[in-house]
Amino acid sequence: MAQIRLENIIKLFGKVAAVNNVSLTINDGEFMVLLGPSGCGKTTLLRCLAGLEIPDGGNIFISDQNVTEFSPRRRNIAMVFQNYAIFPHLTVYDNIGFGLKMKKFSKADIEKNVKRAATLLEVDKYLERHPAQLSGGQRQRVAVARAIAMNPAVLLMDEPLSNLDALLRMQMRAELKRLLQEIGATTVYVTHDQVEALSMGDRISVMKSGQIAQVDDPMKVYTDPANTFVGGFIGSPPMNFLVGEVVQSEGGLAVEIEGQRLPAPANLARMAGQKVTVGLRAENIEAGEVKDGPGLPTQVMVVEPLGSHLLLTTRIGGQSLKVVTPVDYPVSPDQPLWLRPDLNKLRWLDAQSGTLLNLN
């Protein structure tokens, strides 16, 4: 049973802090995704956890043991590398059994675990082959099988699906999720793909510039981003952000966006007279041609048919707003559109810092 605790981890490359004071607790058996754009420090953090990098500051605990300065082989971990790193000179069987052989397991134990892992990942037909004789997808499976054969308490995965084509990635995503639920190892999964993060993780740590921007379960990260960065990074299309001003009006508190007022919750009163950023998801906006109910007058700029729906880019004043509509919705560029946001799903953020306002 392995809980992972990262305390104030700092990793410097020269004078740049790739990981800057990160603290994170990953529960036993949890699937934690480290998500962020390239250069955010997610892979460096994973490598610190693996022992491939020694952090310049902070401590790492696995199962309450301080492993900060342990070499990788003393940490009881297994890892799936981005480029798989399965050994070209070894057969699939020897690759999967590599870790067990290094740890001097008996031949019978190695065989039992290799067969089990190979069957789970459906590579049991290729055990005598060399990696060069496998397709990219099969190599990826061997890399996962090698990790799973170890029965690791902690499983680390560094963008394991990023080298697969889109279709295979989607298939593998679902398969990995099922597999990891079955195994129950504490998993840390690095990815820059927000779809992977949302669909697989028990929780997501969104990282930016070496720091964690938000740690929450996937739906919470999606619906309540801690700041404009998280909202803008997660979701396709990303969350819309409109800048407006909180004003008192006859009907109560409102936010005025490009001269148009939308009702605002009463607990925003302390912001009266100040600018706020309103966050709203494209799918929480209803499009119409006639002005009925509270909404925003916009003009359609771009219409993108995406098969299952239309993605509209619209403009209100100098700001743009993305909206999805059913695929048969009659719309063309340059036409005016009346957008009615779901008022309960508006998110209120500080216009300067971009962080979510605490309305309690």
Partner: protein, 311 residues
């Protein structure tokens, strides 16, 4: 009629009017590209004139008597010569001892350089300096170290470890002479093996050793199970090159040991230059060639990396 059925209909009526004419395949063939052959030509000419031609010539000379007829006399003379046994013995012994020593030493040096530590690059330059020195010059340098009034004896006398200089390079101590030659050759020619191995190590992606580390391999296990197998192609090249060159060792031995330690290449020189018997000299050269070929064949056969084992 749906679109899908049309090609089927067309196929049902072969050889009839309206059949689509096949494109003229001859016309579509790619034009022959001479460029690679032109680029190979200078090197091929060079090798043919300076290597292949002399090789064939020495092959002919080896089987020719003074009248130009065919003979085995040269082989007979070579084999019956008093020095032949010693020359063959020393050459083989020299190779058996020096090649493994150099490979192990070069591997250690290459691994040190490949650590990427602060002074690693500096060592690369220091260690490759002997490569720039001609083997005869190297022999003379080591002679001045080992000789009776050489540096070693002077140091030993200064330290009071011996009163009279030790005769390292004398007829009475052929083993010492052999050891001196091995040391000098280690100093001179290990770097070429090292350079090849450094190049080989540098193309092994770090991810492999990292994966081995994560999966519990100790430094020794990483070397044995990952680094060495992936270095096999480079090791093969280094072994072939080093062994062939070792068969040709001559100038350094000649400078250090003179006639105390005869080697095959030295005998070829002696028969050509001192005895002035071109036939026997050519026979020695031919023997060296055959031994080198046999050796290379063994290396290629037993250190072969199968295509599917490559990354």
């Amino acid at each position: 009629m749906s679109l899908k059925q049309e090609p089927e209909q067309a196929l049902k009526t072969p050889g009839q009017a309206g059949e689509v004419a096949l494109p003229d395949f001859k016309r579509r063939r790619r034009r022959f590209n001479y460029t690679p052959f032109l680029l190979l030509l200078p090197a091929t000419l060079f090798l043919a004139i300076f290597f292949l031609y002399p090789m064939l010539q020495s092959f002919i000379i080896a089987f020719q008597d003074s009248q130009g007829g065919f003979t085995f006399d040269n082989i007979d003379t070579m084999v019956k010569d008093t020095n032949f046994g010693d020359a063959l013995k020393y050459t083989l012994l020299f190779i058996v001892i020096i090649v493994p020593l150099q490979v192990v030493l070069a591997l250690i040096m290459a691994l040190v350089i490949n650590t990427g530590l602060k002074w690693a690059g500096f060592f690369l330059y220091i260690w490759t300096i002997p490569l720039a020195i001609s083997d005869l010059a190297a022999g003379i340098v080591w002679y001045s170290i080992f000789t009776n009034h050489g540096y070693i004896n002077q140091i030993l006398i200064q330290l009071g470890l011996t009163q009279t200089p030790i005769d390292f390079l004398s007829f009475e101590n052929p083993t010492l002479v052999f050891v001196a030659v091995v040391i000098a050759e280690l100093w001179r020619a290990t770097a070429i093996v090292m350079v090849i191995l450094v190049a080989g190590l540098q193309v092994i992606p770090r991810a492999y050793t990292e994966a081995a580390e994560v999966f519990g391999a100790s430094p020794w296990q990483r070397l044995w199970h990952v680094t060495l197998p992936m270095l096999k192609p480079s090791l093969q090249v280094a072994l072939i090159l080093r062994t062939i060159l070792a068969f040709q060792t001559f100038a350094l031995v000649f400078a250090l040991a003179g006639r105390i330690m005869p080697v095959l290449a030295g005998e070829a020189y002696k028969w050509y230059n001192d005895v002035r018997n071109v036939g026997v000299a050519a026979t020695y050269a031919l023997l060296i060639l055959l031994l080198s070929l046999a050796n290379t064949f063994i290396y290629l056969r037993f250190l072969n990396t199968k295509a599917e084992e490559l990354a």
